[in-house]
C-alpha cells in the first residue's frame, strides 16, 4: 500500500470512527443510567439526518442553521421517546424495556419507509465538506478532516457537561445509584430526559455528518452504524464515555484498514466487526476501560 493510500484510508477510518464514537456515546450513556440498550438510538441517528435534509430542501434554510435546528429537533424526539415509551416500563422487568426499545426502533424505521419511501435521497453537503484538502502526497476530502474535528469538539463539550456541571453530577449520580439519588431530592426523571436529549443530539450530529460522508440517506441507514456503534460501546467498556470513544475509533479504523489491506474482504466488513465483538466478549467482556458492573447483593 502506498503512503498516499495509507493516509487516505487512515483519514477515512478516523472520520468513520469518530462517527461511530458519537453514536456509541448515546448508547453508553443510556445504558450506564438505565441498563437499557436503546435500540431506537440508531433510528434517531436516521431521524436527525432527515430533519436536516427537509430543512435544507423543503424550507431552504442555510445549511448550518438547518443542521443546528435538526439537532435540536432530534433531541426533542429523543426526549419524547423516553417520556412516551420508556418511562412507563421503567419499573417493569428488564426484558419489557428491551422489547419496548425494539418496538420503537421498528416503528421509526417503518414509519420512515411509509412516509419518505425506501428510495435513497441525495444529501447536499456544504462546500467546506466537499472541498479536497492535500496532506503530503494524499488528497483527502474535507469530510474526513472536518468530521473528526467536529466530533472531538462535541465530545469535549459533552465531557465538560458530564464532569463540570450540576447536571453532569446528577447524571453520574443516577448512573451509580438511582434510588439513593432519588432520595437525595434529585428529579431522576428529568435527569434521564436530559440524558436522552444529549444522546439524541449527538446521534443527530452523527447522522448529519454521516450524510455528508456518504451523501445518500434512507430510512434504514441507521441499522448498521447503530449496531456497530453499540459494539464499539461494548468494546470500549459499556457505561464509559471515554471507552465508547476509543471503541468507536477502533472499530472505524479496523473496518477501513481491514478492507484496505485485504480488498477481498470488502463484502464481509460487518462480519469482521461481529468477530471482534465475540472475541472481546470472550477475552475481555468488560471492555477496554470497563470495570465489572458490581451488582448489589
Amino acid at each position: 500500500m502506498s503512503l498516499e493510500t495509507f493516509i487516505q484510508q487512515l483519514a477515512n477510518g478516523v472520520s468513520l470512527g469518530s462517527l461511530y464514537a458519537l453514536i456509541a456515546i448515546g448508547y453508553t450513556m443510556v445504558y450506564g443510567i438505565l441498563r437499557l440498550i436503546n435500540f431506537a438510538h440508531s433510528d434517531i441517528f436516521m431521524v436527525g439526518a432527515y430533519f436536516a435534509f427537509f430543512l435544507i430542501t423543503v424550507f431552504h434554510l442555510p445549511w448550518l442553521l438547518s443542521a443546528v435546528l435538526a439537532i435540536a429537533l432530534t433531541a426533542c424526539v429523543g426526549m419524547a421517546i423516553d417520556r412516551i415509551a420508556y418511562r412507563p416500563v421503567r419499573n417493569a422487568p428488564r426484558i419489557s424495556a428491551l422489547i419496548t426499545a425494539v418496538g420503537v426502533s421498528f416503528f421509526l424505521e417503518n414509519l420512515g419507509l411509509v412516509t419518505v419511501g425506501a428510495r435513497p435521497k441525495p444529501f447536499e453537503r456544504p462546500e467546506l465538506m466537499a472541498r479536497v484538502v492535500r496532506i503530503g502526497p494524499a488528497a483527502i476530502s474535507g469530510v474526513s478532516i472536518w468530521v473528526p474535528i467536529l466530533s472531538v469538539g462535541l465530545v469535549a463539550i459533552l465531557l465538560y457537561v458530564v464532569y463540570r456541571t450540576r447536571l453532569g453530577m446528577a447524571m453520574r449520580s443516577v448512573a451509580t445509584d438511582i434510588d439513593t439519588t432519588r432520595l437525595m431530592g434529585v428529579n431522576v426523571d428529568t435527569v434521564i430526559s436530559y440524558t436522552f436529549a444529549i444522546g439524541s443530539a449527538l446521534a443527530a450530529a452523527g447522522g448529519i455528518m454521516w450524510a455528508c460522508k456518504y451523501p445518500q440517506i434512507n430510512p434504514l441507514m441507521g441499522i448498521y452504524p447503530g449496531w456497530k456503534a453499540f459494539t464499539a460501546a461494548v468494546i470500549g467498556g459499556i457505561g464509559n464515555i471515554t471507552g465508547a470513544m476509543i471503541g468507536g475509533f477502533l472499530i472505524g479504523l479496523i473496518e477501513i484498514m481491514a478492507v484496505a489491506v485485504f480488498p477481498a474482504l470488502s463484502g464481509y466488513r460487518d462480519g469482521i466487526i461481529f468477530g471482534l465483538l465475540l472475541v472481546f466478549l470472550l477475552v475481555r467482556p468488560t471492555g477496554i476501560l470497563g470495570e465489572t458492573l458490581k451488582e448489589k447483593v
Binding site: R35, I37, A85, P88, V89, A92, P93, R94, I95, S96, A97, L98, I99, T100, V102, G103, V104, F106, F107, N110, L111, L113, V114, I223, Y224, W227, F230, T231, V234, I238, G267, Y268, D270, G271, I273, F274, L277, L278, V279, L281, L282, P285, T286, T292, L293, E295, V297
Partner: protein, 372 residues
C-alpha cells in the same frame, strides 16, 4: 403411598390424553389434506411452522428471560441447510448458472424421499443449535444484555454471508425449485414435537432453573443453579427448533433468498410471544397460529387495492408500523399478554365441568403445574 399411586395414575392419564389429542389431530389433518384447498392448507402449514419458531423463541425469551434477537439467523441456517441438501442436482446446475457451486453441494444432494427430508430437518436443527452455541458461549459469560446485541449482529452477519457467499448460497438470487416436501404432517408433526419438548423442559427441574434465572440470577446462583449452563441449554434447544422451523419454511414456499430471514421475521415472532404472554407456551402456540392466519388475511385485504390506486405500497408498509406500535403499546399497557404465564393443561380442561360447582377446586387444579 396412596398419594404416590394417585400421582402415577394422574401422570399416565395425562400421557393418555396427550396421545388421544395427537391421534385426533392426525385425523383432522388427514381430513384437511384431502378436503381443503391449497391456499388454506398453506396457511395452516405456515401457522405450524410459526408454532415451532415461536415456542422455541419463548423458551429463551419468556421462560429463561434472556433477550435473544436471533431466531431469524438460526432459521436462515436451517433453511439453507435444507435447501442445499434437498435441491436436486439438475436444479442446482440450473440455479448456479453464473458461478459454479461450491463443493460438496455441487456433487451431491439427498434423494427426494421423506426419510432423507427428515434427516435434513434434523441437520438443519443441528445447524441452528450450533449457531446458538457459538453465539451463546461469549454472550452468557457476563451478566447483562450482551445476548441481545450479539444475536442481532448474528442475524445481520448471516444476511451478509448469504448475500456474499455466492458459491454456497447463490447470493441475493437464492434458490428456486426446492421440492415441496413440507406437507401438513411434517409441519404439524414438528409443531407437536417442539411444543411437547419445550413444555417438558419448562415443567422439569431444568425449566425451574431457567425460570429462577429469569426471576433472580444472583439468588439462583446462590441456590446452586449453574446459570451459564442453564442459559446455554435453553438457548441451544431454542436454536435447534428455530433451525428446524427454517428448514420447514423453505420447502413450504419452495424458494429461498436472504430476504426471507430478515429481522422482520424475528420481529413477528417477538410480537407473537409477547401477545401470547411471555413464558406461556400455550400463548405462543395459539398466537403463532392466529398470527399466520391474520397476516394472510391482511395480505388478502391489501392485494385487490394494489390493482387500483397508487397509495398501495404505503399501506403495505403501514402494517409493520401498526405492528411496531402494537408491540410498544402491549409492553406499556398489557404486559402480561393474553395468557400471562398460565398454561392450558389437561387438569384445567378436566376441571371445566366442575368449575361451575366448585370454583375453589377449579382454581387449585388450574394452578397445578403437573400439566398436560
Amino acid at each position: 403411598m396412596g398419594k404416590y399411586f394417585y400421582s402415577v395414575c394422574k401422570k399416565h392419564l395425562n400421557t393418555l390424553l396427550t396421545l388421544i389429542f395427537v391421534g385426533f389431530l392426525f385425523l383432522v389433518l388427514r381430513w384437511a389434506d384431502t378436503h381443503l384447498d391449497e391456499f388454506t392448507l398453506r396457511i395452516m402449514r405456515t401457522g405450524a411452522v410459526y408454532i415451532v419458531a415461536a415456542v422455541s423463541y419463548d423458551l429463551i425469551n419468556g421462560i429463561t428471560g434472556q433477550f435473544s434477537l436471533g431466531p431469524n439467523g438460526f432459521m436462515a441456517l436451517g433453511g439453507y441447510t435444507v435447501a442445499l441438501l434437498m435441491l436436486p442436482l439438475p436444479q442446482k446446475a440450473f440455479v448456479w448458472f453464473l458461478q459454479p457451486q461450491a463443493w460438496p453441494f455441487n456433487s451431491f444432494s439427498f434423494p427426494v424421499t421423506w426419510y432423507f427430508f427428515g434427516l435434513a430437518l434434523v441437520l438443519s436443527g443441528v445447524m441452528g443449535a450450533l449457531g446458538a452455541f457459538i453465539v451463546g458461549i461469549p454472550s452468557f459469560r457476563l451478566r447483562g444484555d450482551y445476548l441481545a446485541i450479539a444475536t442481532f449482529g448474528f442475524g445481520e452477519i448471516i444476511f451478509v454471508l448469504a448475500n456474499n457467499l455466492i458459491p454456497l448460497t447463490n447470493g441475493p438470487l437464492g434458490m428456486k425449485g426446492i421440492p415441496e416436501l413440507a406437507n401438513v404432517y411434517w409441519c404439524f408433526g414438528w409443531a407437536v414435537i417442539a411444543t411437547l419438548v419445550v413444555k417438558n423442559i419448562a415443567n422439569s427441574s431444568y425449566g425451574r432453573a431457567m425460570k429462577a434465572v429469569r426471576d433472580d440470577e444472583v439468588a439462583a446462583e446462590a441456590m446452586g443453579v449453574n446459570v451459564f449452563r442453564t442459559k446455554m441449554l435453553a438457548f441451544v434447544v431454542s436454536g435447534f427448533f428455530a433451525g428446524v422451523a427454517g428448514g420447514l419454511l423453505v420447502p413450504l414456499i419452495t424458494t429461498i433468498s436472504p430476504t426471507l430471514f430478515t429481522f422482520t421475521m424475528t420481529f413477528n415472532l417477538l410480537i407473537i410471544i409477547v401477545l401470547g404472554g411471555l413464558g406461556s407456551i400455550t400463548g405462543s402456540v395459539i398466537t403463532a397460529f392466529g398470527f399466520a392466519i391474520a397476516s394472510e388475511l391482511l395480505r388478502a385485504v391489501e392485494s385487490p387495492m394494489q390493482i387500483g390506486t397508487i397509495r398501495i405500497p404505503g399501506i403495505a408498509g403501514m402494517r409493520m408500523v401498526v405492528f411496531a406500535a402494537l408491540l410498544v403499546l402491549l409492553m406499556i399497557f398489557y404486559r402480561q399478554g393474553i395468557f400471562g404465564q398460565s398454561e392450558l393443561s389437561w387438569e384445567w380442561i378436566l376441571s371445566l365441568p366442575g368449575k361451575v360447582v366448585d370454583k375453589e377446586v377449579a382454581k387449585k387444579w388450574k394452578r397445578d403445574e403437573t400439566s398436560s
